[in-house]
Symmetry: C2
């Protein structure tokens, strides 16, 4: 299963997160991904974070396991070469992932004259062609006005640090590509798939019921660290650790009450209000403040170690807040004992935990994580294997600066 896409060859001409992560997902379960870049690197080649020696860890993370070819994309000959790589023949080829503008030299219709059944996934900022990145799209769809402490003024945005729309677009793009490959196998037809961050954002907010919510009613106000619609919030232990505790299902709630020995206190509130918190999360949400008034002191009266035992014994849904470094170094579920990660030596000489594909297929250990390429390290191989160029032809292209090795 780890090699389910072993017969596919995907060409990537993309930068930043969405396009490259889409092709990464495909590569991690077997597709050969040829990423072409401008000689010297595209706009994301030096993106931070970087190693001490200047290697972009961001670029390495998004491009691990891909083949890299460097082309002078400003020259007509280099552009023609890129088009030839994209439209190379073969039943598993002819798949192109890009965020280049739809009107440029990599327009789908122009490419399709060279290969009629080409599949292009074009990542866009906005569906109408306007430019946009995760952060600007997020501002436009309202998430920063829902995020953050309740004592921040309502008109003060709090940005997300996680580029969720980029990541989601990458994953959905991989899904859309496989759907298109599937259709091509039966109908022979390719085509262009356009996937806009703005559509991913608005569509997701529709799928979550939030577009409906504001269409029929008011905006959702900030709720700080509390979950909307259910019981869940951050608490602090006696020894100062922040924990996130959630009780969405009846079992999670009863477990929490039992873990904190609050059965009688909760029953008293239930009697006073004439209701039960046991079944309906909405009832817990409606009276969340009353419940927080019980739970907070109970957490604050316990140190983390005994609290951990009590919560885990009762299958409560909770976690301790950690920084990422703390998680990487001290939570064995994240890296040390996680089969998702392999230590990998990357260009520039750094070895660090590197993720495989995100799913575990049939109990396999998974296809091993692979190193990022050096920029242009596969230029010769791609030209020889995928375009069938001779050593002389490749040497000539290199001499004239149309392509470059590493």
């Amino acid at each position: 299963m780890d090699n389910a896409l072993g017969d596919l060859t995907v060409v990537e001409g993309a930068s930043f997160i969405a396009g490259p992560s889409c092709a990464l997902h495909l590569a991690q379960i077997g597709a050969t991904v040829i990423r072409f870049d401008m000689i010297g690197g595209g706009p994301d080649y030096n993106r931070m974070p970087r190693t001490d020696t200047g290697e972009s860890l961001y670029w390495q993370g998004l491009n691990k396991g891909k083949l890299s070819i460097a082309i002078d994309l400003r020259s007509p000959e280099g552009r023609e070469l890129a088009r030839s790589i994209i439209t190379a023949q073969g039943p598993g080829s002819g798949i192109f992932v890009t965020n280049y503008p739809e009107t440029g030299f990599l327009a789908h219709n122009a490419l399709a004259t060279q290969r009629a059944d080409l599949i292009t996934l074009r990542v866009q900022g906005w569906g109408d062609g306007r430019n946009g990145v995760d952060y600007t799209v997020n501002a436009a769809v309202g998430v920063p006005y829902m995020t953050g402490p309740t004592d921040i003024p309502p008109d003060q945005p709090v940005n997300s640090v996680l580029p969720a729309w980029d990541l989601m677009t990458g994953a959905y793009g991989a899904f859309a590509v496989l759907a298109a490959v599937r259709r091509r196998a039966t109908t022979g037809q390719g085509g262009e798939i356009r996937l806009a961050l703005s559509d991913v954002a608005m569509g997701s907010l529709s799928n979550l019921g939030q577009v409906a919510e504001v269409s029929l009613g008011a905006d959702r106000p900030r709720s700080g660290n509390a979950l909307f619609g259910a019981f869940g919030r951050d608490f602090r232990t006696r020894d100062g650790h922040a924990v996130m505790i959630v009780a969405i299902t009846p079992k999670q709630w009863s477990g929490l009450v039992a873990a904190l020995d609050l059965d009688r206190a909760v029953a008293k509130v239930e009697a006073a209000l004439g209701l039960s918190f046991a079944i309906d999360e909405g009832v817990r949400y409606a009276h969340a403040d009353r419940l927080y008034d019980l739970i907070s002191p109970a957490i604050a009266a316990r140190d983390l170690a005994p609290l951990t035992k009590a919560l885990d014994r009762n299958s409560v849904c909770w976690e301790r807040y950690r920084t990422l470094k703390d998680a990487v170094e001290n939570d064995p579920r994240c890296i040390a004992e996680n089969p998702l990660f392999d230590p990998v030596l990357h260009p520039g000489g750094s070895t660090y935990p590197t993720a495989k594909g995100l799913a575990r297929f049939g109990g396999d250990a998974g296809r091993p994580a692979r190193a990022a390429p050096r920029l242009g390290q596969d230029t010769e191989q791609v030209l020889a294997d995928h375009l069938g160029l001779s050593a002389g032809q490749i040497g000539d292209l290199m001499d004239r600066g149309i392509v470059a090795g590493q």
Copy 2:
């Protein structure tokens, strides 16, 4: 293309976001999705937000366009019925999306005795089987300590309101299912795919270079609303509107400088520092405070209307912050002029803008958005069409409370 998965039948026994959104993606490009629920609804059936009449907009958003069958999953006969639906024969059937526990009555190995080539996508909290939801996983991997204003104490978490890991798991799950279907078509083999929110989170942070960053160095500190590694932040106009402006590429930066007539002021700073901001986003990031000191007053000196013209004329990457309701009602790109949305009448009598599948295939208008089912509305149809039960058999199951209609 909108019907690329028209030959697939997916059975969903899942709740909350990740599993249901995975099946939703499949349904939106043609798959028949049969969702089974406990009679009376599963744990997400009443999840907020709700309409005035108590319909869950969350449930409707995640389950639109699916068939709904209601079964008494506590009875042995109901459980056997669910298993029969999951393992029904047919080349495009035998695909199961779930977040039920791996050890329960819907364990893959038990199901596979009834259909050997069954594909199961099992969404999990943690890869090791521990329970977890988006909010707890997010706490454990460090995002809340990176989010929020810089003047919040470092040990005070700021939760994400967007369930990014859930959404990403749903999209990646749809990708993984298609990969498995593809493999089954050639090898005849099914299998179980386990997809944990924790793996999606840690793997994504690896793909972004952040696991490498903290493995090799320190935690990334909070940066408020400013982008990490490039120029981007919120600003406020003279008439009080918050705007998010980003300049990652050289063109975005030169456009911003030109739009604000800051060429000479920027050149002065460049001369004083002996460097250029034109090419390297890292240089802009390293001296971001100096640049914000120029840009902020320039924005604060302009009202939104003339600023909009200047920024758009220069192709600056920016957006005005809006609430979601503001975006839905007043930004025509989001709903009014967006082919992603159709107005749809849903159970309970509410009509609201409803999203189609997130990608635009080959310029199609897209498969129309569909209404959510009423719980159990397709019970009879599913039993007749998918299991071949007679009207008498169905009536008997209903009479005995093993299944229920709407």
